[in-house]
């Protein structure tokens, strides 16, 4: 036992002598870049370059067909201000985001609290609630189209018992709520994240508060929620990014044949990205569409920054073990 520790220590010192040589350092740096090169190349070619290309296109009148196009300055961006469809689409996306993000987080947290309780069949409940989150988007859209179908959907079937004639749920304005329901159906992923946060909260804290006479709601409000706040912040940011760029549910819910056209999306589901997509692929206004795309990108950056700033005081970060050790060392010095 002691010998192995000693030999391990000598290996470490011998390694250290190898490591301090400059040749070794250079080898290691080169190797680092070798190892990360697949990602680095991918990042430059598949992220940076496309973003830059879109920025360049947004300053031109490119239509995707004729090879001749030229620089038009910021005209595409000023055109957005007069584009009523774009503003309508932005409003729809705003409403969709303002509903699905808070609803998803609250529902996810509520379900996480329930499946965190010591009950029988807990793994089964967790699996059932999470299951829809793994269903591919084309599958969930088909499920909801069949569920809300005006001729043979389940909802109209139930309404039929009460003599209510069938409603076309997949048309304006109700199709918007079908899309919201479909989004919230996948709340399992948020639930799992909240659940992992709940499991990370030490039981003693909650028990101590209960002993001191706090009721369940007070414990949740004063202890659980503050300790969960970093995770909730994460859910808000990823939720907003996800919702603002959403358009595939709207596309898949709207038409029998999704590839045919984006122009048949009902007004209430005309999300911002649907508008962008239509400008690109239905009208071939590549320059203008690229400007719309960059506005979305900028909007997401700004929203993320605003959320970070606005919550700076409200989010509670428990210091990790490293920081605690460091602080203790600082104090003992």
């Amino acid at each position: 036992m002691t010998t192995s520790v000693a030999s391990r220590a000598s290996t470490r010192t011998r390694r250290r002598t190898v490591e301090t040589s400059t040749g070794w350092k250079r080898y290691r740096a080169r190797t680092f870049y070798g190892f990360i090169s697949p990602w680095l190349l991918g990042f430059v070619l598949l992220t940076l370059f496309p973003l830059g290309y879109a920025l360049w296109l947004s300053l031109t009148n490119y239509d995707g067909l004729t090879g001749r196009y030229h620089y038009v300055g910021a005209r595409n961006y000023t055109d957005i201000l007069n584009d009523h469809d774009a503003l309508h689409a932005l409003t729809r996306t705003g409403i969709y985001t303002a509903i699905t993000v808070p609803a998803g987080i609250i529902l996810g947290l509520a379900l996480a609290v329930l499946v965190n309780r010591p009950i029988r069949g807990r793994p089964a409940f967790r699996a059932f609630l999470y299951l829809p989150a793994v269903v591919p988007i084309v599958g969930s859209a088909l499920c909801f189209k069949l569920l809300f179908n005006s001729d043979f959907g389940m909802l109209n079937n139930i309404l039929g018992w009460f003599g209510i004639s069938s409603i076309d749920w997949l048309a304006d304005p109700t199709v918007f709520w079908v899309m919201v329901a479909m989004t919230l159906w996948g709340v399992g992923s948020t639930m799992i994240i909240s659940l992992s946060g709940l499991q990370g909260i030490p039981q003693e804290l909650q028990e101590a508060a209960r002993v001191d006479g706090a009721n369940a709601w007070q414990v949740f409000r004063r202890i659980t929620l503050p300790l969960l706040s970093p995770i909730i912040l994460f859910e808000v940011i990823t939720g907003v990014i996800f919702a603002v760029q959403a358009f595939i549910p709207a596309l898949l819910l709207s038409v029998q044949s999704a590839s045919t056209t984006v122009t048949s999306v009902p007004q209430s589901n005309y999300l911002y990205m649907i508008h962008v997509y239509a400008q690109y692929f239905a009208y071939g206004r590549f320059g203008y569409a690229s400007a719309l795309l960059w506005v979305l990108f900028a909007l997401i950056l700004i929203l993320t920054l605003i959320i970070f700033k606005a919550t700076a005081g409200a989010v509670f970060y428990e210091s990790g073990p490293d920081e605690q050790v460091a602080r203790r060392r600082e104090q003992s010095r």
């Binding site: 680092f32 697949p38 990602w39 059932f128 793994v134 990014i241 044949s257 590839s259």
Partner: protein
């Protein structure tokens, strides 16, 4: 004692809510399954369950559209992208975990930042570029996306490799072993569980992806996701909803089975994405 009596009604309420919500969550899938087994006449009837199991719907589902070809494409693209993305991300993650060089910190911050990047913002311009260099209507984009790795998996692998003991590489370095061999022969085999998680997560993502195949591939070389979204019709253009439901069941089932078998990988992946 007082805690016992107080928690009994709460226990019942918990069960009641969970059972109701679970049933509501399962209804869309059960309705799909029911339609997949009904016949066209039963669709409009008020009965919720099929009178007999019409397996012929599944026969229609795989014969009325080029189902086999769609499945083959879906499997090919998903396996290629998932394999490449997992291995490439493992390699990049190892670099960030175990090697030191100038610029490592800012580069890793970029990896984290790309996790937040909306994918559609880069996907459409990528399509425009690939159209110019004749990479659309080929399967090459999936190879390239795979090789570039996934920011999330890179992050996952970095965590795992960072937490492995130093002793692992010390001896190998003394013996004059290069880092690539250390990675391939020592570290990679130890990360088997994460490799499986990574493969499953990226396979599922590629299998479910709708927008990339609908943009980058033509109708006759596309994946099952896009093929299904086009629906089933008779030659007269009437939609065949029973066949469509059966096709959707066949499309969803492999992912649900994968979820049942490897639940831990799915949930573990999601949790890690949430924590850091």
């Amino acid at each position: 004692m007082s805690i016992q009596t107080r928690s009994a009604p709460r226990q019942i309420a918990t069960y009641a809510v969970l059972i109701i919500v679970s049933v509501i969550f399962l209804i869309p899938l059960l309705w799909l399954l029911s339609i997949a087994f009904k016949n066209a006449g039963e669709l409009a009837s008020s009965s919720w369950l099929p009178h007999a199991l019409r397996w012929s719907n599944f026969h229609d589902a795989v014969t009325l559209i080029p189902f086999g070809r769609y499945v083959a494409t879906s499997i090919l693209l998903s396996v290629v992208q998932a394999t490449l993305a997992t291995l490439s991300s493992a390699m990049v993650g190892f670099g960030f975990a175990r090697l030191r060089a100038r610029g490592k910190r800012p580069l890793f911050l970029i990896v984290i930042a790309t996790l937040m990047l909306p994918q559609i913002v880069t996907l459409i311009p990528t399509y425009l570029i690939f159209a110019r260099v004749h990479l659309i209507y080929t399967y090459w984009p999936w190879v390239l996306w795979g090789l570039a790795g996934s920011a999330f998996l890179i992050f996952l692998f970095r965590q795992v490799f960072t937490n492995m003991p130093m002793d692992l590489e010390d001896a190998a370095i003394i013996d004059g072993c290069g880092y690539f061999r250390i990675f391939a022969t020592i570290f990679l085999p130890l990360a088997k569980a994460v490799l499986v998680t990574g493969f499953i997560l990226s396979f599922t993502a590629a299998w479910g992806d709708f927008i990339a195949p609908s943009l980058f591939l033509s109708q006759d070389q596309t994946t099952l996701a896009v093929g299904l979204s086009n629906g089933y019709q008779t030659s007269a253009g009437t939609p065949l909803n029973n066949a469509l439901a059966a096709g959707a069941v066949l499309y969803i089932l492999p992912i649900l089975l994968l979820f049942v078998i490897a639940q831990r990988a799915f949930i573990g992946g999601f949790i890690t994405s949430g924590l850091k």
